[in-house]
C-alpha cells in the first residue's frame, strides 16, 4: 500500500464519494487513467480502489469510496466512508453529484459538509441533465453551498482537468471554502450548541476522541441516535457524565417539542435545505413526467413481456459467447499447436525438458488458454448488462421467483454474475442487507456455472456429443440453475428460516454502455483469468506433469506413474460413478481451479495442446454416459480455491466455508451417481 507517501509536499489525498450510480467509477478512471490498484478495505471485503492522478507538479492519491446515499451508520459502506473521512483524513473529498438527480444527491453532500471535511463537487452527467431540461447555475450552486463545484461529463472525460485544478486550489486554500451547514432550526440548533459545549469540555472525549471529528457533527449524530457514534462516545464517557446528562436532557426537550423522532426532524431539515438550494440554482425548462427510460421500462419490466425479454437477453449472451468465441478460439488453438511444434523441433534434449514444455506447459496451460475468447465475451456481456442498467431490471423481474425461494430480487444479481466468475459474484452479495439472504446466495453461487467450467464442457461435449454440443452444454447450465434453486429453497427452509429483508433498490436510468467503460470492466475481470492461467493453472499443470513423469523410466502418464498411484488410491471413491483413476486425478487437481481438469487430461494423455487428440484419447476412459456424469460432477463439486477463499472472507466463518465445500462435494457425488445408475437402467453403456 502506498498510503505512506500521502500528505508529503505536493502529495494530496482525495477521496471520491457519492451516491451509487452517480458515475464515481468513471470519474475515478478519468482522474487516474490506468494507474490504479484494487484491494480491500482492512477487515472487510468491500472493494477498495486506489490510484494516482497528476496535475502539474502535484501528484495526488485518489481513493474510491463505496457509493452511499447517506452517512448514517446503517450499512457497512456508510461506516467505511465515515471512518475513512475521519480516521484517514483525506485532504479533501470529491463528491460526485449526479446532475440529473441533483436533489437526492445533494442530501449526501450536506452530510459531507457537516462532517467537517473539505468538499469539492463534481457535478457529473451534465449532458443527461440538460437533455432533460435541467439547467443548473453552477456558480450560484457553488455560492449557496459554499464549496467549489465543477461540471463534468464523466463518460466523455469532460471537466477532468478543471476538477484537478479545483482539487489543488482547494487544498492550497486558494478556492472558496466556507461549507454552508444545514440550519436545523432554533430549538435543535440550541441543543446542538449545548452538546458541542459539553463535548469540548469533556477532557477525554475532546482529547482522545474528538481529534478526528467536528464537535458539531458529533452533536448532530448523537441527537440522531447514531449507534456508532454513541458506541464510540460511550468508550470515553460513562453514563451519568455531563455529556450523557446533557444528551438525555436535549433528547427529552426536543421530543416534547416535536413529539416525533428528532431524527425525522433532522432528515426533514436536510432535505429542506437541499430543496431551497435547488429552488434557487436549478431551473427546469420542462417537466418530463415520463422519461425515455420510463418508456423502456414499460416494456422491459412489463408483467407479461418482461420475462420473455429477459430470456432473450440471456440466450443472446450465451449465443454470442459460444458462436463468436469459436473464431478466435481456433486461431489460438493453431498458435498453441505451432508453439508445441516449435519446441518439439528445436529442443531435442534433454527429453524431460521437452516433455515438460510440450506436455506440461503448452499442453496444460494451452488447453485452457484456448477458452480465453469465450471467457472475455461472457464478461463483456455481463459488463453491458450492468452498465446499461438492465441488471437492476433483471432483479426486478426475477423478484417474484426469488420471493418463492424466500429471497428477493437483489439476490438474483450475484447469481447472474456467477455465470462469469463466482469470485466477484460472491463479493457482489455485499449489496444484500439481510445476513441470511447473503449466506444463502453465497452458498448456492458456485452452482451457477462459471466460465472456468466451460473448457470442461467444451472438451467433453466435442468428444462425446459432437452433434448436440449446444444442447448438452445448455443442459448443464440448466442443471446448475435447478440445483441452485433447490438448494436455496432447502437452505432457507432448514438453515436460515425467516422472512427476507425488505426489497429496496435504485433503478439507474438506462444508459448506452460506452466502449471504454465496458472494456475496462471486462478487463478487470477477464485479466484475472489470464493471471490464473499464468500462475495456478501453470503450477497445476507442471505438478501433474511431474507426477506423470516420475518415477524415472515409467511410461509417461501410465498407471505406474505417481499420478497413476495417487489415482488408484482415490479410484474406489469415484468407481461407483463410472469414473477411472484418471478422472480421480483430474478432479483432485481441479480442486484448485476447474480448468485444471482439462489441462490434466491434456498433460496425462501426453498429447499436449491438440484438442482433437485429447478428444479421441478420452474415448478410452469414458462413455457418453460417464462423460455426462463427469461434466455434472465437475460443475457441482467443490468451488475452486479462489471461490473458497472469497467465501471464507465474506462469511467470516470457517464452518460455513467447510459446509460450502462439503455439501457441494456430496451433491456432486449424488447427482453423478444418479445419472450413472439411471443411465445404466436405460441400457446406456457405462
Amino acid at each position: 500500500m502506498s498510503r505512506g507517501v500521502a500528505s508529503n509536499e505536493g502529495q494530496i489525498t482525495a477521496a471520491l464519494s457519492g451516491n451509487p450510480n452517480a458515475g464515481k467509477t468513471t470519474i475515478f478512471n478519468n482522474l487516474t487513467g490506468g494507474r490504479q490498484h484494487v484491494g480491500n478495505w482492512p477487515g472487510v471485503t468491500v472493494e477498495k480502489k486506489e490510484g494516482t492522478a497528476r496535475y502539474g507538479d502535484y501528484e495526488f492519491e485518489v481513493v474510491d469510496l463505496p457509493g452511499t446515499y447517506s452517512l448514517t451508520a446503517y450499512s457497512l459502506e456508510e461506516i467505511i466512508v465515515r471512518d475513512f473521512m475521519t480516521l484517514d483524513k483525506p485532504d479533501l473529498v470529491v463528491d460526485i453529484v449526479d446532475a440529473s438527480n441533483i436533489e437526492r444527491n445533494l442530501y449526501l453532500t450536506t452530510q459531507l459538509i457537516e462532517l467537517g471535511v473539505h468538499v469539492v463537487i463534481a457535478l457529473n452527467m451534465m449532458d443527461v441533465a440538460s437533455a432533460r431540461g435541467i439547467n443548473i447555475d453552477v456558480e450560484l450552486l457553488s455560492e449557496l453551498l459554499g464549496i467549489p463545484v465543477v461540471p463534468t461529463i464523466g463518460l466523455r472525460n469532460k471537466g477532468t482537468e478543471e476538477l484537478k485544478v479545483a482539487i489543488v486550489s482547494t487544498v492550497m486554500g486558494e478556492a472558496r471554502f466556507r461549507g454552508i451547514q444545514v440550519n436545523y432550526g432554533k430549538e435543535i440548533e440550541e441543543e446542538i450548541s449545548k452538546l458541542q459545549a459539553v463535548i469540548e469540555q469533556d477532557e477525554r472525549v475532546s482529547g482522545e476522541f474528538l481529534g478526528n471529528y467536528s464537535s458539531r457533527w458529533i452533536g448532530v449524530k448523537l441527537l440522531e441516535e447514531d449507534e456508532k457514534v454513541e458506541e464510540d462516545v460511550s468508550r470515553y464517557s460513562e453514563p451519568g457524565s455531563a455529556l450523557f446528562r446533557q444528551l438525555e436532557a436535549s433528547r427529552d426537550h426536543l421530543f416534547t417539542i416535536f413529539s416525533e423522532d428528532i431524527e425525522t426532524v433532522i432528515v426533514d431539515n436536510r432535505y429542506g435545505f437541499v430543496a431551497g438550494v435547488v429552488r434557487e440554482a436549478v431551473e427546469r425548462e420542462f417537466e418530463e413526467p415520463v422519461t425515455l427510460s420510463d418508456r423502456i421500462d414499460r416494456i422491459l419490466t412489463n408483467r407479461i413481456l418482461g420475462f420473455p425479454f429477459f430470456a432473450l437477453f440471456m440466450w443472446l449472451m450465451f449465443f454470442l459467447t459460444f458462436f463468436l468465441g469459436k473464431f478466435p478460439m481456433n486461431r489460438i488453438d493453431h498458435l498453441m499447436r505451432g508453439l508445441g511444434n516449435l519446441i518439439n523441433t528445436n529442443i531435442t534434449s534433454p527429453v524431460w525438458l521437452r516433455s515438460l514444455l510440450v506436455d506440461g506447459v503448452v499442453g496444460g496451460v494451452g488447453s485452457v488458454l484456448v477458452f480465453l475468447p469465450q471467457i472475455f465475451i461472457i464478461f463483456i456481456c455481463i459488463s453491458i448488462l450492468e452498465d446499461s442498467g438492465y441488471m437492476a431490471r433483471a432483479a426486478f423481474i426475477m423478484d417474484r421467483i426469488m420471493h418463492w425461494l424466500g429471497m428477493h430480487g437483489k439476490s438474483f444479481i450475484p447469481l447472474l454474475m456467477g455465470f462469469g466468475c463466482n469470485v466477484p459474484a460472491v463479493m457482489a452479495t455485499r449489496t444484500l442487507e439481510s445476513e441470511k439472504d447473503r449466506m444463502i446466495t453465497i452458498l448456492v453461487n458456485p452452482l451457477m456455472s462459471c466460465t472456468a467450467r466451460l473448457p470442461v464442457y467444451a472438451l467433453f461435449t466435442a468428444a462425446f456429443f459432437a452433434a448436440h454440443q449446444g444442447t448438452v452444454t445448455f443442459s448443464l447450465y440448466l442443471l446448475g440453475i435447478i440445483l441452485a434453486v433447490s438448494m436455496a429453497k432447502l437452505f432457507r427452509r432448514f438453515l436460515f428460516p425467516g422472512e427476507s429483508e425488505p426489497f429496496v433498490m435504485e433503478l439507474p436510468p438506462y444508459r448506452l454502455p460506452t466502449f471504454k467503460g465496458t472494456f475496462i470492466h471486462m478487463w478487470e475481470r477477464g485479466s484475472m483469468f489470464l493471471r490464473k492461467a499464468g500462475t495456478i493453472i501453470l503450477a497445476g499443470s507442471v505438478a501433474i506433469w511431474i507426477l506423470s513423469y516420475l518415477p524415472p523410466g515409467v511410461k509417461y502418464g501410465s498407471g505406474a506413474s505417481l499420478a497413476g498411484k495417487v489415482g488408484h488410491v482415490l479410484e474406489p471413491l469415484v468407481r461407483p460413478l463410472g469414473f477411472d483413476w484418471r478422472a480421480a486425478v483430474a478432479l483432485l487437481f481441479g480442486f484448485v481451479a476447474k480448468e485444471i481438469v482439462v489441462s490434466t487430461y491434456g498433460t496425462l494423455l501426453g498429447v499436449g495442446e491438440n484438442r482433437a487428440l485429447i478428444s479421441s484419447g478420452l474415448h478410452g476412459f469414458f462413455t457418453p454416459l460417464t462423460a455426462y456424469g463427469f461434466m455434472a460432477f465437475t460443475l457441482i463439486y467443490t468451488p475452486c480455491l479462489a471461490t473458497i477463499a472469497v467465501i471464507k472472507k465474506e462469511t467470516g466463518s470457517r464452518r460455513w466455508t467447510a459446509f460450502a465445500v462439503g455439501y457441494s462435494l456430496a451433491l456432486a457425488w449424488i447427482v453423478a451417481f444418479v445419472i450413472y445408475r439411471v443411465g445404466l437402467l436405460f441400457g446406456l453403456k457405462g
Binding site: Y69, S70, T72, Y74, S75, S100, N101, I102, E103, R104, Y107, L108, R132, I134, E225, E227, E230, E231, S234, E238, P239, F244, L247, R251, F255, D261, E263, V267, D268, Y271, P289, S293, D294, D297, R298, T301, N302, R303, G306, A392, A395, F396, D399, R400, H403, H408, G409, E433, P502, F503, V504, M505, E506, L507, P509
Partner: protein
C-alpha cells in the same frame, strides 16, 4: 374505491398514478420507555428498533413524508417501480404496502369531480 383525500397504500396504486407520501406505516419504533430502560440496564444509550434502519434507508433515497411519488410499474403481486423526484426506485410489495399515499386528484379514478 377511495374518495379523494383518503390515504392509500402505494401497493394498490396503478401505473401512472401519483400522490404525496403521507406516512411510512409500521416502521417507526418510537423511542419508548422500554428501550430507555433497556439502555440504562446496559449502561448505554437507549436505542430505537430495527424498523429505523429501513426507514433511514428509504429516507436517504428520497422517500420521506411529503415526497411526490408516481407509480411507473406495478407488477402485483410482484414489486413496484416508483418515481421519486428524478430517481426510480424498485420497492418490494411489503414496503409498498406500508407507504401511505394521498392520491393526486387528476389520476385518481374518482377525480376531483367525484
Amino acid at each position: 374505491m377511495n374518495s379523494p383525500g383518503e390515504l392509500m397504500p402505494l401497493a394498490f396504486m396503478r401505473r401512472g398514478d401519483g400522490g404525496t407520501l403521507v406516512e411510512i406505516r409500521g416502521l417507526k419504533h418510537r423511542v419508548g420507555d422500554v428501550g430507555r430502560a433497556l439502555g440504562e440496564q446496559k449502561g448505554r444509550f437507549f436505542h430505537a428498533g430495527r424498523g429505523h434502519r429501513l426507514e433511514h434507508r428509504l429516507n436517504s433515497m428520497g422517500i420521506i413524508p411529503g415526497a411526490a411519488l408516481k407509480v411507473i410499474q406495478n407488477n402485483a403481486p410482484g414489486p413496484i417501480i416508483v418515481a421519486v423526484k428524478d430517481s426510480r426506485l424498485c420497492l418490494g410489495r411489503a414496503i409498498a404496502g406500508k407507504l401511505m399515499v394521498r392520491p393526486e386528484g387528476e389520476d385518481s379514478p374518482n377525480g376531483p369531480a367525484g
